[in-house]
C-alpha cells in the first residue's frame, strides 16, 4: 500500500452499516416515496464512495486508475440520458 | 453511370421534391470532394514517383504553417457538412415532426408478411362496424394530405414508398404515424424495408393514387 496512513477499515465499516440501516428506515420518513427514494439512493452513493475510496484504495491510486473507474460511469450516463426520450417519454 | 439521381424512381409526392433536392446537394458536394481528393492523390502518384537521385522533402507537418494546408480544407468540409444539416433540418421537420390536417386517415398494421389496411368509414372512427379492411392495398386521392396510423402485430416491419420518398418503421407496442401528399395518380409499390423473417423478401403492398373524382367513386362503391 503506497500511502502509509491506511484508512481505518473498521470505522468505514461502521459507517457502511449505519447507512444501510438508515436506508431501511428511510421508509418511515414523512414526505412519501420521493423522499424515501432520494434518501435511499443518496445513502447508496455515499456507501459506494466509501468502499471505492477506502477499501479499493482509489484515494492512493494515480489518475489512470481514476480514469478507469470514472470514465465508464460517464459513458453509462450518456447512454441512460439518450434512452430517456424513447423509453421514458415514449412519445 | 455517375448520374446517381437519375436512378431515383420518379417523385410522386409533395415532400419528395425536397428530399430529392437535398440528395442532389449532398451528391454535388461529395462528388466535388471525391474529384478533388482523388485528383490530388492521382497528381501525387504521378508527380512524386521515385526518381533516382531525388529525395523526398523532409516535411513533418508539425509547424502550424504546414498543418494549415490540411486544417483549411478540413474547415471547409465542416462548413459544408453543417450547411447540409441546415438545409436538411426543415425537410426533416416537415416530414417527421409536423402533422398536416388530413381528412383521409388510414390505419396500416404490419404483420408477418402482409400490410393490414383499415379505413374508418363515413363515421370517421376506427373500431366501428362501418370500417373496411383491405390486405396489401391502400387507396388514396391525389393532391390531398393522407395520414397513416402505423402499428405492428408481431415484429418490426418498415413501410417504404420509394416513389413518394416515405419510410417509417412500424414497431409493435408503439403507434407511430407518417403522412404524404401524392401528386400523380398511379399504382406505387410498397415494399417492407426491415428484415421481418421468412417472408420479408416479397412482402409488399400497393398504393393506388386516384384522381379525386375516381377516389370518390371508389369510396361510394366500398361503402354502398
Amino acid at each position: 500500500m503506497t500511502g502509509s496512513r491506511a484508512p481505518n477499515y473498521v470505522a468505514i465499516w461502521v459507517w457502511l452499516v449505519a447507512l444501510a440501516l438508515a436506508s431501511l428506515a428511510a421508509g418511515l420518513l414523512p414526505g412519501g416515496r420521493t423522499v424515501t427514494v432520494a434518501v435511499v439512493f443518496a445513502a447508496a452513493t455515499v456507501k459506494a464512495l466509501l468502499v471505492a475510496l477506502n477499501y479499493m484504495h482509489l484515494r492512493f491510486e494515480p489518475r489512470l486508475v481514476h480514469a478507469l473507474a470514472l470514465v465508464p460511469l460517464l459513458v453509462v450516463a450518456v447512454l441512460a440520458v439518450a434512452l430517456v426520450p424513447d423509453l421514458v417519454l415514449r412519445r | 453511370m455517375l448520374n446517381w439521381l437519375a436512378w431515383l424512381p420518379e417523385n410522386a409526392a409533395v415532400g419528395g421534391a425536397e428530399i430529392d433536392g437535398l440528395l442532389r446537394l449532398i451528391y454535388t458536394l461529395t462528388l466535388a470532394w471525391a474529384v478533388l481528393t482523388l485528383g490530388a492523390i492521382g497528381f501525387c502518384l504521378v508527380r512524386y514517383r521515385r526518381r533516382p537521385g531525388r529525395r523526398a522533402r523532409y516535411v513533418t507537418g508539425e509547424r502550424p504553417a504546414e498543418v494549415a494546408w490540411v486544417l483549411v480544407p478540413v474547415a471547409v468540409v465542416l462548413g459544408l457538412d453543417l450547411w447540409i444539416d441546415v438545409r436538411g433540418a426543415p425537410v426533416w421537420r416537415r416530414a417527421k415532426l409536423e402533422r398536416p390536417a388530413a381528412e383521409v386517415v388510414i390505419q396500416v398494421t404490419g404483420r408477418q408478411f402482409n400490410w393490414e389496411v383499415v379505413y374508418p368509414g363515413p363515421d370517421g372512427r376506427f373500431g366501428t362496424d362501418d370500417d373496411r379492411r383491405f390486405l396489401d392495398e391502400i387507396h388514396v386521392p391525389a393532391g390531398v394530405p393522407v395520414r397513416l396510423v402505423l402499428d405492428s402485430r408481431d415484429v418490426i416491419h418498415s413501410l417504404f414508398l420509394p416513389h413518394l420518398r416515405v419510410k417509417q418503421d412500424v414497431v409493435p407496442g408503439r403507434t407511430l404515424e407518417t403522412w404524404f401528399q401524392a401528386t400523380r395518380p398511379g399504382a406505387y409499390e410498397l415494399p417492407c424495408a426491415e428484415l421481418c423473417g421468412l417472408g420479408h423478401s416479397g412482402m409488399k403492398g400497393w398504393l393506388h393514387v386516384h384522381p379525386p373524382e375516381e377516389y370518390a367513386r371508389w369510396v361510394r362503391e366500398q361503402w354502398s
Binding site: D86 | A56, E62, P162, H163, G173, P191
Partner: protein, 569 residues
C-alpha cells in the same frame, strides 16, 4: 518506463527444439498473432463463400446456387446474418486487432512479449472456442441465426418469429465469448504499451499503429458492456420468456436497438482504426517521407474515438425513435467526419513531395485510401436524417459500409500482410503476383459494390432474396448480375494471393531483417524474430518512427534505434 533488462516469465517458453504442444499452446505474442490470423483467414473464406452464394441468388433468383441448390428465403436470411456476423466479428476483429495487434505491438515498442502472456493465450483460445460455437450453430436443428447480424427483437426475441431456436442461442453465446476474448486482448495492449516500452520510447515516439490499436481497444472496452447486458436480456427473452423486448410484457424493442448501436458504432471504429494504423505505417515507408502531422493525427484519432460514443442513433432515424433526437445525432455524425477528413488529408499530404515506390504494400495502402474516401463521402448521405428517410435499409447503405469496412479489412489487411509477411514468416512475397492480386481485387471490388449505390437509389431494399418480386427492380436486374459477376471475380482474385503465399513459403527468397528499409523497431529484429524478440538486450530508442529523408543524413531512412545520428526529437 520499461526496465531495460526486463525479461518475462513464459510458462512454457519455447525455443528451437520445441514440441508441437508448446508451439500450439504458446504464450508467445507472435505465435498468438499467427493463430488469430489463421482463424481470421479461415472465417474469411467461409464468409466470402456465403457472400458468393448470396450474390448468386440475387443475380439468378430462380437458379440453383452451386453447393446449396435451390435456396429459400429462410436460407437466404441465414446467409445474410452469418455473412455479416462472420465478417465483422470473426474476420475483421481477429485479423486487424488480434493478428496485427498481438504480433506488432511488443515488437514496435521494443518489448519481449505482452505484459500478460498467459492471459493473451487465454484470449486466443476463448476466440477459438467462440469460433467452434459459431461453427456448431450451422449444424443445429433449425439452422444458424437468421435475424440479421443486428438481431432486432421481436424477430430475434422469440424463436417462432424467425424459426430458429438453437442457432440464435449459440449465436449469442459465440458473440459473448468473442467479446470476452477481445476484452482480454485489450487489457494486454494497454498495459504492455504503457509498461514495457524500450528505453527512449516516449509516448510520442510510438508508431501510429500502436496509437490506433490502443484507441480501438479502449473503444471496445467502453462500448461492449451494454451490448453484453442486452445479449443477456435477449437470451433470457428467448429461453425463459422474460419480457425485456416484448411490448405485451412491458418491454420495448427499441431498447435493443439503442444498446446494439451504442456498441455498433464504436465497433466499426474498433475495426477501422487498426486498418488505418496499418496504412499510416506504410505510407511514410513507401513515400520515404515523415508521416504528416503525427501529433495532430493522434489527437484526431482520440477525438474521433470519443465522438464515436454519441453518434449511434444515426442507425435509428426511421426506427420509431423520437424524431426530435434525429437532428442532434445528425450533427454529431457530421462532427465525427471532421477528424477522419483531417486524417485523410494528412495521408495525402504525406504523399505530397514524397519519393513514391509502388511495391504491393503501397498499392494496397493506396487502395485503402481511395476506397475509404468514397466510403466516407457516401457516409454523408446516410448521416443526414432527411436523406436517410429514403436511403435507410436500401442497397445504398450496403454499398456505403462495404466501401468503409471492406476497404478497411481487405485493403488495410492485405496492405499489412504484404508489408509484414517477411517479418512474420521470414520469406518474401513475390511482388508481381502481389501486384496482380491488387489490381484484380480493386477492379472486382468496384464492379461488385459501386453499382449497389445505384440499386439503392432505385429503391432496392436490403436482405431480400429475390429482387424480381419487386416491379420497380425488374428493369435493373442486369445491375444485380453485374454485381454478382464482380463478386465472383472478387472471390477468384484471391487465388492470386494463395499462389503468392505458396510460392513464397516454398521457393521464396529468405527475407532480410529490413526488406523495406523502414525505421520502426520490428525491423531491427531478425525475420522471423526469435523468441523473446531481442536477444540479450532490448533496443534503445533515439527518435520518432518517421525520420525519412532527413537532409543531414546520408541515407533516406534512419531507424529509431540507430545510435549514430545527432539526437533527434
Amino acid at each position: 518506463m520499461g526496465q531495460g533488462a526486463v525479461v518475462v516469465t513464459t510458462a512454457r517458453a519455447h525455443g528451437p527444439a520445441q514440441s508441437w504442444v508448446s508451439r500450439v499452446f504458446s504464450t508467445d505474442h507472435k505465435t498468438i498473432g499467427k493463430q488469430y490470423l489463421a482463424l481470421g483467414v479461415f472465417w474469411a473464406v467461409v464468409g466470402g463463400l456465403l457472400a458468393g452464394a448470396m450474390r448468386w441468388q440475387l443475380a439468378w433468383p430462380d437458379g440453383r446456387v452451386p453447393g446449396l441448390g435451390e435456396i429459400g428465403p429462410d436460407t437466404y436470411n441465414m446467409l445474410v446474418t452469418m455473412h455479416g456476423t462472420i465478417m465483422v466479428f470473426f474476420v475483421a476483429m481477429p485479423i486487424l486487432l488480434g493478428a496485427f495487434g498481438n504480433f506488432l505491438i511488443p515488437l514496435m515498442i521494443g518489448a519481449r512479449d505482452m505484459a500478460f502472456p498467459r492471459l493473451n493465450m487465454l484470449s486466443v483460445w476463448t476466440f477459438a472456442l467462440a469460433s467452434l460455437v459459431l461453427l456448431a450453430s450451422f449444424f443445429v436443428p433449425g439452422g444458424a441465426a437468421s435475424a440479421g447480424w443486428t438481431a432486432y427483437p421481436p424477430l430475434s426475441a422469440r424463436p417462432d418469429y424467425s424459426g430458429v431456436e438453437w442457432g440464435l442461442n449459440l449465436w449469442i453465446l459465440a458473440l459473448a465469448l468473442e467479446f470476452a476474448s477481445f476484452l482480454m486482448g485489450g487489457v494486454n495492449y494497454l498495459t504492455t504499451a504503457m509498461a514495457l516500452r524500450a528505453p527512449g520510447m516516449t509516448f510520442f515516439r510510438l508508431p501510429m499503429l500502436v496509437w490506433q490499436q490502443l484507441t480501438a481497444a479502449t473503444l471496445f472496452l467502453l462500448s461492449v458492456g451494454p451490448l453484453i447486458a442486452g445479449a443477456v436480456m435477449l437470451l433470457l427473452d428467448r429461453t425463459l420468456g422474460t419480457g425485456f423486448y416484448a411490448p405485451e410484457l412491458g418491454g420495448d424493442p427499441l431498447l435493443w436497438q439503442h444498446l446494439f448501436w451504442f456498441f455498433g458504432h464504436p465497433e466499426v471504429y474498433v475495426i477501422f482504426l487498426p486498418a488505418l494504423g496499418i496504412v499510416l505505417e506504410i505510407l511514410p515507408v513507401f513515400s520515404r517521407k515523415p508521416l504528416f502531422a503525427y501529433r495532430w493525427i493522434v489527437w484526431a484519432t482520440v477525438t474521433a474515438g470519443a465522438l464515436s460514443f454519441v453518434v449511434w442513433a444515426h442507425h435509428m432515424f426511421q426506427s420509431g425513435m423520437d424524431p426530435r433526437l434525429a437532428m442532434p445525432f445528425s450533427v454529431t455524425t457530421i462532427l465525427i467526419s471532421v477528424p477522419f477528413a483531417f486524417i485523410v488529408f494528412c495521408m495525402i499530404a504525406t504523399l505530397w513531395g514524397g519519393a513514391l515506390r509502388f511495391d504491393p504494400p503501397m498499392l494496397w495502402a493506396l487502395g485503402f485510401l481511395t476506397m475509404f474516401i468514397v466510403g466516407g463521402l457516401t457516409g454523408i448521405f446516410n448521416g443526414s436524417a432527411p436523406a436517410d428517410i429514403y436511403l435507410r435499409n436500401t442497397y445504398f447503405v450496403v454499398a456505403h459500409f462495404h466501401y468503409t469496412l471492406f476497404s478497411a479489412v481487405v485493403f488495410g489487411g492485405f496492405a499489412g500482410l504484404y508489408f509484414w509477411f517477411p517479418k512474420m514468416f521470414g520469406r518474401l512475397l513475390p511482388a508481381r503476383l502481389g501486384t496482380l492480386h491488387f489490381w484484380l481485387t480493386l477492379v472486382a471490388f468496384n464492379v461488385t459494390f459501386f453499382p449497389m449505390h445505384h440499386l439503392g437509389l432505385a429503391g432496392m431494399v436490403r436482405r431480400i432474396a429475390n429482387p424480381l418480386q419487386y416491379d420497380l427492380l425488374v428493369p435493373y436486374q442486369w445491375v444485380n448480375v453485374v454485381a454478382t459477376l464482380g463478386a465472383l471475380g472478387l472471390l477468384g482474385a484471391q487465388v492470386a494471393f494463395v499462389a503468392a503465399v505458396v510460392q513464397a513459403l516454398i521457393t521464396g527468397r529468405r527475407a532480410p531483417a529490413n526488406p523495406w528499409e523502414a525505421n520502426t523497431l520490428e525491423w531491427a529484429a531478425p525475420s522471423p524474430p526469435l523468441h523473446l524478440n531481442w536477444g540479450a538486450r532490448v533496443p534503445i530508442v533515439h527518435r520518432g518512427p518517421y525520420e525519412y529523408s532527413r537532409p543531414d543524413q546520408p541515407t533516406d531512412w534512419l531507424p529509431q534505434h540507430a545510435a549514430a545520428a545527432p539526437a533527434g526529437r
